[in-house]
Point group: C2
DNA sequence: TCTATCATTAGAATTGTTCTAAACTGCTTG
DNA sequence: CAAGCAGTTTAGAACAATTCTAATGATAGA
């Protein structure tokens, strides 16, 4: 048997390569599941996605992964700096494909998050952390009644 | 039977009156449970308390309330503006006795929250909310590696 | 190709929180 | 000071997000 039939959904080769390289560079084995999930996450622009959402997208795309794998992948990606985890509404957490410095609008009615470029928030001064502790990041969340 | 024996833990009358008035003013019936919980919450300075924490404090103080009542009270207090709910770590939410405008240090290791007076954070400029939506509040969270 | 290591999985378990529906209590009215 | 109703409390069940378990499967280096 020398023929392998490829029946995977077609995606742009460039996209494939990019995602594969991103995983390898991050030190993550590019398994079938992680590749598929990473493609779903990173294909379109920046997003704020919950585990449940990604799990459903996977199902819709006929990517057969378990929910545990979705959580594992999201946490692994986060640990390697490919994603950032955000908890605003304590009901569930979002994974942000935008890992650069930025802030958020939070639409209270819908629970939706929208990025704010770092430059659009001008912080003139901040207090120093108690005991000179290191600041790991500053999050600004603008809660909007909408 | 004309004698009612009072075996409640003694608290300063002033404190009692204050808490009772706060509940009444807020439009909340000052029930035995709410009074006890409000006293625990507001007795010492500003705090960030989880439902579980308050439930345990109640037990320690021999205040016999159910966990459902703790949740009900915390949410009722929040709805009436006596508390403010904060969700940073998605594992559970905190209730903040400081309802004025202020910000927070978040100690990532311990999960502890510490207030920052509003004046200590100087925001020079903020973007307008999309569609001119009303901003309900701006939260600044300084995450500290400690 | 072999194999150690790492990843995936189904389903059970855990945890914070909410729901249910019955018992109870604060408050107003007569 | 009843009576009675709306608002409250409660035990425990139910829920939903997430994590764990332990067995199976895949990856990558030798
Ligand atoms: Mn998480
Ligand atoms: Mn809540
Ligand atoms: Zn974002
Ligand atoms: Zn606070």
């Amino acid at each position: 048997m020398y023929v392998t039939i490829m029946r995977q959904k077609k995606t742009s080769p460039a996209n494939n390569v990019t995602v594969l390289e991103r995983l390898r560079t991050a030190g993550l084995r590019p398994t079938r599941q992680r590749l598929a999930l990473a493609k779903l996450m990173f294909a379109r622009g920046h997003r704020h996605v919950s585990a449940e959402q990604l799990f459903n997208e996977a199902k819709s795309s006929r990517v057969d992964v378990s929910l545990a794998t979705v959580y594992n992948a999201l946490h692994d990606f986060t640990a390697k700096g490919l994603l950032r985890e955000i908890s605003i509404d304590s009901s569930s957490s979002y994974f942000d494909t935008n890992t650069g410095s930025h802030h958020h609008f939070y639409f209270e009615r819908s629970g939706h998050l929208e990025d704010i470029a770092a430059e659009r928030v001008n912080i003139a001064s901040l207090p120093e952390a108690p005991g000179g502790a290191e600041i790991s990041r500053v999050d600004v969340i603008i809660r909007v009644k909408a």
